[in-house]
């Protein structure tokens, strides 16, 4: 026998199920005004400094179907690379946003500021994905194809270099980007364990 450790094990994850919207974005789910406003509705407020970007995308299952019931959360720093809560953060950048795949089209949209460089990392937005059939929330990141991504400590650890492309938001217009997520298949998105 040995001494017992004092550490606890993390509570096991379970799928969010198809009705995650009820709990997290009830107004979106059609429950009416249980709360005054859904949490995390806006990543930024008016007056946020930096380039406003709109990122649109879909999430595809292994059959190539853009499924409709996913919910996303994003977390990022401001345009100067400072996270909300840190000294000097842009007060108009919430950093956190919740959004969902559209029930009809499966498309999601995130409107935010393009983040700066934080901690020696290329500009990126952390993304957390939950849905029916996803047993533990999936972590990934949105990078930008038109930024300098050299030397980023996460991207540089992706052995199969062509997979870096799965984390790149593609520029589709002025301030407009496309970011599709593939859970399986040749273009499977790189998911993180950080």
């Amino acid at each position: 026998m040995v001494q017992p450790l004092d550490t606890l094990r993390e509570t096991a994850s379970q799928t969010s199920g198809p009705y995650v919207h009820i709990g997290c974005i009830p107004t979106f789910a059609g429950l009416g005004p249980v709360y005054p406003e859904d949490l995390g509705r806006y990543a930024i407020e008016d007056g946020a400094k930096g380039q406003i970007v709109t990122i649109t995308g879909s999430i595809y299952d292994g059959a190539g179907w853009a499924f409709r019931d996913a919910m996303f959360e994003s977390w990022q720093c401001d345009a100067a690379g400072v996270f909300p809560g840190q000294d000097g953060a842009d007060p108009n950048v919430n950093g956190f946003c919740r959004f969902a795949a559209d029930g009809e089209t499966g498309e999601f949209t995130l409107r935010t500021v393009k983040p700066g460089r934080a901690g020696g990392q290329a500009p990126h937005i952390a993304l957390w994905i939950v849905a029916r059939g996803i047993n533990t929330g999936l972590q990934t990141r949105i990078y930008f194809e038109d930024e300098d991504n050299d030397g980023d400590p996460v991207l540089s650890r992706i052995e199969q270099r062509h997979r870096i492309d799965t984390l790149m938001a593609k520029k589709t217009g002025d301030g407009a980007y496309r970011f599709d997520i593939h859970l399986q298949g040749a273009g499977e998105t790189v998911f993180l364990d950080m």
Partner: protein, 242 residues
């Protein structure tokens, strides 16, 4: 120890496998390729902060919050309470806990739920609260019903309440489900059984807590939650950000 620093790497054996053929939707929604495991960075070590101004008095009372106290929800009145701590056993204070659930008949108030159990006009099915300084939280609600779902020929979900917990770092983010002591459907549920470590599944089953109940009013169930912790070492010496 401060509320900063690297997160303890996630012990994936504590969690369900992504791929589980008995939970059919997981088959096409589970990544095939391995996750890329890396130390946390400032991105995962920081997270949104929600203040007490967000929470209104009825937000954690699902019996009353849908009708704004005009009429109570139908069902067995219960109090669900517990503590949020991290892997180091430290309380996680002032963190947002959100729950959602079916009504007493096993029906969600959601456009996609077509089960023919009736909707309760007095029940919405969501609640939220912040933990106190010691990590405690509590909800008043009704016991949710079990319900059938399309998976294998005759699968039923046990009574359960969905939990969403933030912690203080985006890398601590967790969604799970609370089950009820004594429910025979737990052992038959393909979603509960995505957790292969029996002791980890047992920890999602809330015991009846007579001491936390109120005579002639409600029963109580206790549900404690453990989030990822931060590395506790006196020898921390790392380059900024990674």
């Amino acid at each position: 120890m401060s509320d900063h620093g690297r997160l303890i790497p996630r012990d994936r054996t504590a969690h369900p496998a992504q791929y589980d053929p008995d939970y059919k939707t997981a088959v096409t929604r589970s990544p095939n390729l391995p996750l890329l495991s890396l130390p946390s960075t400032v991105t995962e070590e920081t997270g949104p902060v929600f203040g007490h101004d967000l929470i209104r008095p009825l937000d954690n009372n699902l019996i009353l919050n849908f009708t704004k106290d005009e009429g109570p929800a139908i069902g067995e009145r219960i109090r669900v309470h517990g503590r949020v701590v991290d892997e180091n056993g430290r309380a996680v204070p002032n963190t947002l806990v959100e729950i959602w659930q079916a009504n007493a008949g096993g029906r969600y108030r959601h456009v996609k739920d077509t089960y023919f159990a009736p909707l309760d006009p007095n029940f919405g099915g969501c609640g939220r609260t912040l933990t106190d300084e010691a990590g405690h939280y509590e909800f008043m609600t009704i016991r949710p019903g079990a319900y059938p779902w399309p998976n294998r020929g005759n699968d039923w979900r046990p009574m359960h309440i969905h939990f969403s917990i933030f912690g203080h770092a985006f890398g601590q983010r967790l969604i799970s489900q609370m089950y009820f002591e004594g429910d025979p459907l737990i052992a038959r549920c393909p979603i509960a059984k995505t957790i292969k470590d029996r002791s980890q599944l047992d920890r999602l089953v809330a015991p009846l807590d007579m001491g936390g109940s109120k005579p002639m009013d409600y029963l109580a169930y206790k549900f404690d939650i453990v989030l990822r912790g931060r590395r506790q070492t006196m020898f921390e010496n790392r380059p900024e950000g990674l």
